[in-house]
Assembly symmetry: none
Homo-oligomer: 201 residues x 4
DNA sequence: CATGAATGAGTATTCATTCAT
DNA sequence: CATGAATGAATACTCATTCAT
């Protein structure tokens, strides 16, 4: 019942061998490539180079696996974007930083970003996964509300502004995914400037 | 193999007995509600009040059905947004009109909009469905490029700008879907103003 | 959801074709031959000459199937043994009749009898199946108690006497099953006489 | 392949550390509680406080384990019932003794008795286990035949009489198991008297 | 044309057994 | 000797699709 934890293996060294991570990596890639329902458990096992049964030593079910990946990636995203956030900087700087950090996440691990995007509303996400999502949203809402109260952003529902900016960000990624070329630095900067003008007061 | 065409039902008048449309309506609603893989063909048949086998008289497969719906809705979207487009109006007016027409589509038939959004990248979309999508994109690209050449929009890849604006639009919808309240007219107007400022030169 | 009923086909004639009954017959035989867990659903389907999926049109699960068989056979047993029971006859006659009817059931459909015996305490029997069993037991208990009150049977817990007599009956069957020869009429009569002497006052 | 024998532990004294017995005890309890197929090997290992792999150092397979338990318990049953059997006593006394010794076995180690009963006809019992069973049966047959030749028991197939008496015995137990109360001494005596009257000439 | 009962290929999941440590 | 993580063969069950009526 007690499933092996990730931490123990992080110490292991020896160059990998962490089955739990192997499985999550393989599953993430396949879910992005072929979708959740389009991916079979044996396929995940093959790609992770483990037996099919092994997956069930680490995850209760295929659903539990996708939820674990979702949470892990969402939290990694959160950490990358929010760690050591310059609370005192001007809003303009903060906006740029958020945007560029997100861009880095999306550029360095595009699979992860696409995965989070695709599974945002998936039926198989459980309550805890949705909570992770909700917590991050709250942080953004506070950020917006504060800036609005200083008169630096347009008035209006913070959620609306967030939806707009995040939507635009995703739109930029999608555009590049469809063109099958990674978005250049210039693209990210242009988009960032556009969206700042969209929300600034 | 000779599948009944949609036109046959258009002739039927009185709106009764159009099985093809009944099936598509039922499927659209269920796909939005439970996803493509979460919906079984017999369920669609039940909701459409036809026999399960009947669906295969109108559509070659479940995949063909979802593609037919995608194309039909995408084209309806295109017509609603582009019909009688005021080619001569100022760009600002054109932008507002596009946005508001899209808003009307999304507000009047939210299921259709969500469906198009959710299935944008679905694996089961075939080449023809992607072509419908591509044609519409071309129209937008020309619109943007023209406006750019007149110096009214920011320079940059038209696809990038489209991705950004469409993404933001979707973000607004999603936000409201999550809050389970239809976006108000004020929301749409605010968002429209924001995004205009995002793209105008 | 609404599963086809047995009655409709009983009328059908045409010499069989009743899938539900085919499945139950095949399953009964296999459960006796190889046990519940030793029988796979495809095996049942093969023997019943239906597709594996067809079984699930008639029974929710393998468990539901074994329960349905249990109930059907238990009730058939009850009917055969108790129908038109001569309430007014002397206890000795009643005892003989019960015993011989049970013997007929066990001789004519030995699989059914063995099945009921083997699955008496099976973990997969649900509440309803146990109720069928309990109701029949109640009838026997009343029969015993009445005879005891007339001083014709030994005093003592009716359940104990029933357990003893039924146990002895099963013992006779088992003995013959092990010898792989059907119990002769003389055997049944001898055993009946023995057990009467066991319980009479 | 050279599996540790039971004797080695008999030497150990103090009763501690005897893994083979720990495993058999745990398995017996679980098999009775949840059935053979309802019990997993790791569960047995947990209950026996040994590693799952250890079980395979003492038993070739799960089947071999259940067979070993069956033989051991059957032989313990035989010893308890037949040791120092008073060959010269009157048949009535012998019958009473057999019955009461069986009752003691069933009362003192009900799990063992239920186990023997439940697995009497199990598919996974191998030839040797059946031989143990057969040998004991032979002893009983001789006992019966002798008594019959002295005219003390009813004529008829000894096996039939044995089946009847043993069946009745099991019926008494089952009755008490169902009522979830251990059979009282009075119950055992009543039943013994009944069954003696059943078989005596 | 319409139907829906029947199908069986395909999937997630379990668990006896092995073997590197 | 003992272990328990890893394995993969085996099994119950689902559902898109067909076809006899």
């Amino acid at each position: 019942m007690a499933v092996p934890t990730k931490s123990s293996s992080a110490v292991a060294g020896k160059g990998g061998g962490d089955k739990r991570e192997q499985i999550m990596d393989a599953a993430l890639a396949l879910f992005v490539e072929r979708g959740f329902y389009g991916t079979t458990v044996p396929e995940i096992a093959d790609r992770a180079v483990v037996g099919a049964g092994t997956i069930y030593r680490y995850f209760e079910s295929k659903d539990a696996l996708v939820n674990a990946i979702y949470r892990a990636e969402k939290m990694r995203f959160g950490r990358l974007v929010l760690d050591a956030f310059p609370v005192a900087s001007p809003t303009r700087e903060q906006f740029r930083l958020l945007w560029m950090r997100m861009a880095r996440f999306a550029t360095e691990t595009p699979d992860s970003f696409v995965f989070l995007e695709l599974h945002h509303h998936a039926r198989y996400l459980d309550a805890e996964s949705r909570t992770v999502e909700a917590r991050m949203l709250d942080l953004f809402i506070h950020f917006i509300a504060n800036a609005q109260s200083r008169g630096e952003l347009k008035a209006g529902s913070p959620r609306l502004l967030i939806g707009m900016v995040m939507g635009a960000f995703v739109g930029v990624i999608r555009n590049c995914v469809e063109l099958e070329q990674p978005p250049g630095d210039a693209d990210w900067k242009l988009a960032e400037q556009c969206m700042w003008e969209a929300v600034r007061s």
